[in-house]
Symmetry: C2
Subunit: 521 residues, 2 copies
């Protein structure tokens, strides 16, 4: 898409195409194919298991795939010495003009579903666990449904009683539906019914029972990491249960299992629709609106089995998007005070939470702009890149058909960034992948810099549109029922789902990833 649409010669056609569905569909297919074709298609020859091609590297998905083979580099600065690249110069955060806080909230919820690098308990930078993952390598909403059948079973009502068939367990608070709590009301003992769920990551840092008692029992171990993420999960929980109720009424002979499965089919697909039609269109620098048209992938040479790469797990660490201060329900909080704090969501309610996130600007992605509380994670990311012996930033530019930088000034127009790079690296060819990603200027009209943009787009299309539910003989009304099929057609953005899942609807509130003040330049 970006390879093609950002071409200015193409611009005059955009407004025409947006009004002609058949032309729009054709341009959409060309744009998506051009986007994916900037680099090699899967299967990737290599994974993190071996330095060479092996049956294990081609089949064992507990190791992360890799776009480029490992290299041996010497003379690179110590990861900790690169910390300053992320720390603010004047301690003033720069904000992103295009994106609201709904953008990082969605990005985190989305990627937590399939970027699942294993985290060693001890945290040694060279622990080989960091080369492995627990991903299903699909957009399967495992954040909501669990990663494994055992987890899914524990999250379901599994009840044949009228009015409960096919539903996910939930509770009502102040007239609104949420996931059940993981702990007993005292915040100490975990409910045995949730014994198979992945434990919420980072909870050990929040021993306060008032936090713990509000932790949700759900499929994802990062859903509780911030109330914005729990907010997303709550939205899709409600949509699942809404669909289950409608299916049960429409198909009274269906058992719990069938109602559940058809509702899940539907929710996964409408989630993917939002990924492409809201999220990717927000990221895209082009005003042309891309469509989640499954047919584009059916016969595409790039429709090959998904496999999340170790590069992908790094390029999605967008810590600088997180603003220092976040308003919840009229009150401002320092970001770290919101972490694992679901009370903020419960107090606001779902519509207010979405509205709050849609009316605050996200941070600007890039150098010298990470919240102090998150800088440690940046160093860990550099360490992971070194552990996996990733090739340089310059090599990855070349890999996705972008020009290789000849000077440090080719990487950034920001003198401070250029000076930093020149101070720490002997040549532009040496710059670490993780540093280069965030050293670039953001692309015009996009919240992302060019290399991230390109690699995100390749994987977004080549791993979302390959979902088996979108495949040629599955993406049919029967798979979703009339009720599910209509819900899919009626969904292009988070706002659509929120409107039908809040007691009073959304009304005229602004819900979106793109700031109200944004205009394409």
């Amino acid at each position: 898409m970006f390879a093609f649409i950002s071409n200015s010669l193409f611009k005059p056609f955009v407004s025409v195409a947006n009004n002609l569905p058949w032309l729009s569909k054709k341009i959409n297919a060309v744009a998506i194919n051009n986007t994916v074709n900037v680099c090699r298609h899967r299967p990737h020859p290599w994974s993190t298991v071996h330095d060479y091609v092996s049956w294990t590297s081609l089949t064992d998905q507990s190791w992360s795939a890799r776009h480029l083979p490992p290299v041996n580099k010497t003379g690179l600065p110590a990861p900790d010495a690169l910390k300053d690249f992320f720390i603010r110069k004047q301690n003033t955060q720069q904000l992103c003009k295009k994106s609201t806080c709904l953008f990082p909230a969605f990005a985190q919820y989305l990627t937590d579903g399939f970027i699942r690098t294993k985290m060693p308990n001890a945290g040694e930078p060279d622990d080989p666990l960091r080369k492995q993952n627990s991903s299903n390598h699909q957009i399967d909403l495992c954040t909501l449904y669990g990663r494994t059948p055992e987890q899914t079973n524990q999250l379901r009502t599994k009840s044949e009683a009228q009015g409960t068939r096919g539903q996910l367990k939930s509770q009502t608070i102040s007239g609104e539906e949420y996931s059940p709590f993981l702990f007993e009301p005292d915040g100490l003992a975990e409910k045995p019914e949730f014994s198979k769920l992945d434990k919420p990551l980072g909870l050990d840092k929040y021993p306060d029972p008032s936090f713990r008692s509000k932790i949700f029992a759900t499929g994802g171990d990062r859903v509780n990491s911030a109330p914005q993420v729990a907010m997303m999960n709550t939205l899709f929980l409600r949509e699942h249960n809404r669909l289950a109720r409608a299916l049960e009424t429409a198909y009274p002979t269906w058992d719990d299992e069938r109602v559940f499965q058809v509702a899940r089919n539907t929710v996964i697909v409408l989630f993917i629709k939002i990924v492409v039609e809201e999220y990717i269109n927000h990221i895209s620098p082009a005003p042309f609106r891309l469509l989640a048209d499954p047919a584009v992938a059916w016969n595409a040479p790039w429709n090959k089995p998904n496999w999340i790469t170790t590069e992908f797990s790094l390029l999605y660490r967008w810590h600088s998007l997180i603003p220092d201060e976040i308003k919840w329900n009229g009150k401002s909080y320092s970001a770290p005070l919101t972490f694992m704090n679901n009370q903020l969501l419960l107090d606001a309610g779902l519509v207010r939470a979405f509205t709050d996130m849609s009316t605050q600007q996200a941070g600007r992605l890039g150098a010298f702009n990470t919240n102090a509380g998150l800088v440690g994670f940046e160093v860990k990311a550099i360490e992971q890149g070194r552990l996996c012996r990733l090739d340089s930033y310059a090599s990855y530019r070349e890999y996705v058909s972008l020009s290789k930088p000849k000077t440090f000034s080719d990487i950034s127009s920001n003198k401070e960034v250029v000076d930093f790079l020149a101070k720490h690296y002997a040549s532009p060819d040496d710059v670490d992948f993780y540093i280069g990603l965030f050293a670039e200027d953001t692309e015009k009209n996009s919240p992302l810099p060019p290399l991230i943009l390109r690699m995100v787009a390749v994987d977004a299309f080549s791993q979302a549109l390959t979902n088996p539910l979108l495949s040629e003989h599955v993406f049919q009304p029967e798979t979703f029922s009339t009720i599910g099929w209509e819900a899919i057609q009626a969904t292009g953005a988070l706002r659509d789902v929120l409107d039908r899942n809040s007691p009073k609807g959304v009304g005229s509130e602004r819900i979106g990833m793109t700031s109200s003040s944004w205009a394409y330049s």
Copy 2:
């Protein structure tokens, strides 16, 4: 292929094409695409888990996929009442004109690697375990290397000592190399080093320590079922270790792991080459020689993730190919006496075993021709089809673009078969899938009847050429090393591998699946 090449208009081009490599390659691609395009491409919407499409049916490969959804049929004959369809009328076995016993030996070894229906201990016909499998859904030579990393580890020497790197464990008997024995010499205690291997199936019926003490420790639980199968496994064991020795010599800096992996890459690919270039060409009714050209699959719309179907697990039960009497090393044995009897292989040695199998005719595949000792398995197959509520034989004909039979005589030219069908079924539309498969006449110039032929060919190409080792960016000399790459190029048939893995070579012995007396008509 069969859809295209059996077209007689095409025949005049065959001899020309066989002599022009570029034309041959083009025709090969057209033939393979035509073969695979007779039916729907994967992903299959259904598996045996649900009657409808679900995330589980699309992702959990422990359930078998299915080509057609389940149906409810009533009024079908009891499976046991269909036993007579397989039992000989005059107790005289009919033989196949085209195939030697090397054909069923290879077919069994090949399919045991990926058709892995779970077998319930108790054997109830409606045990839902029969809907599940333990397959990796790949041609990965798990018969040799094991299904799991733990099994692979136990089968390897895992030694860095000079002369042993990268090898599979083996032993020398009478100057020839074989897998080690699973049991201690007394035939009673299993060696602890092989604790993770799948137990040999059916061994409980052979408690005699003289049989048990000769059971090989290897990856497949059916490798020991007959000495012909152990013979195949021995061949590829030797090829692996031969390559490992050559690699270790050529690349003295490579460790055990790398030598092993590169040898395995090579052996899997040369096995697939034999599947297409010897086995499929033997099955094919056309004199045109099909090539295992990986490029055919690279951009093909049918290149979608493999998933073995429950139909595939049934249509490959070729019991009637097994002759009643089999000669081993100059002596004739009743077939059941050869089961699990590896002593026959050890006494003959590998070349003699291959020669013996290549000079005896296999049974003719079809009705009234199964060895009495195997008829019970035919009934179990019918039961499995009923358990999975398979659609009728007629529906599967239609599914793969063959005509639907209007009368019983459309199915077979054999009056006894027609009478049997008419006696047991109300109409040709009712005939069970498993019965119809074997009721058909064999196709002219092929050992297989048309429906089996077509379904075997679809899955052979669409699941063999999709192997990740054959993918565009993996099928390169670097993946196999020069030694491995040359071995692949030098292999088109079992004979090639046998010749380089027997102390004195093959000489002028005939080694092949096609009988020496065979001529295309």
